[in-house]
Amino acid sequence: MDRNVLFEMTLMPGTGKALEMKAGQILRIEQIEGLQCVDFNCFNLHDYKEFMHCGRTRTVHGFHPTKGDFLWSAPPRERALMYILEDTVGRNDVLFPRCSAYVYESAYGFDAHTNCHDIQAEAQREYGLTPDDVHDSFNLFMYTEISRDGRATITRQDTKPGDHVDLLALVDVLAVPNVCGADVMRTSNFALKPIKLTLFEATEADLAAAPKTPILRSQRTPKDFRNPTIKADRKLIRDSSYVAEFVNTPIRLEDFAIELSDEEAAMLDRLRLPVYGKDDGAALRDILFTWWEQKFLGAAESGAPAIGDRKA
């Protein structure tokens, strides 16, 4: 596939780079020597308050987003910012945040150490952002798992030279990859290596490969906010004119009496969950919504609905 190369650079250990990407451009993040984790963030280029949100991405695509998945922004924007067009390894992470100076000081005693938070902060400072604007990263080539006791764990990776992830910008973004600074952890197999970055113009075939995501009323932007002004000072002071306007409040309750036949009462007792004790109404309500989930939601088993699950 012939793509027009717009930019190439080598990202050296301990560094990161903020790159402007227009919608329809592809960033390839590529192993040079292999065995190197790369932390990645992105922001809406025209409104930095919208940025890639690992929590939302994790909910939609699981702990290891890969080829065919999207990088989502946080609610209430909640839209696909980038699409993972290619992933030759298929092992990335959205469980861990970025490593930080505090980690290296508290666990290892370093006064200063390469760390992803500070590298991200330094790279995005080129665009006027502060260290507080760094957010959780999409960790490329990072092998993580959940242990049986619920903790996230890191193990070694086996990436090779040439392995890469291609990220297609669906909107204009500021993309910020950095070479993970962890050389005393398993993340990059105890060594820091350079990474190659290549920015391409997407071909028609690339663009056609990215599925369309739903555009819904609930995807709100500052024009929809009751307070669209970005707070410019640091101290939090109560707004004396504030009047709460929570959605759909007050919550109103309505009771429905249902005469269960002998047969239906037996069904209820077979299906009821122990958590509801003797509360027949709560047990039946649970059955009702469990039925609904299983009938109409793709993610019924996880209990965590994802974007695009709705069957009708």
Binding site: N248, I251, R252, L253, E254, D255, F256, A257, I258, E259, L260, S261, D262, E264, A265, A266, M267, L268, D269, R270, L271, D280, G281, L284, R285, I287, L288, F289, T290, W291, W292, Q294, F296, A312
Partner: protein, 51 residues
């Protein structure tokens, strides 16, 4: 097992979902939908028990 009256408490958001489900033809009214859910879930459970 004796039949009995069960009171199900739902809020306006839950009712909106229920009513939209009724509008798509799943049941004639709210009580019928709850009854249908109970019967279908019980049927699934019987199927699972038989396997």
């Amino acid at each position: 097992m004796a039949g009995r009256t069960v009171v199900v408490r739902l809020n306006q958001q839950q009712l909106e979902l229920i009513d939209r489900t009724i509008q798509r033809g799943e049941a004639a009214d709210r009580v019928s939908l709850i009854r249908k859910a109970l019967r279908e879930q019980a049927g699934k459970q019987r199927g699972a028990d038989a396997r």
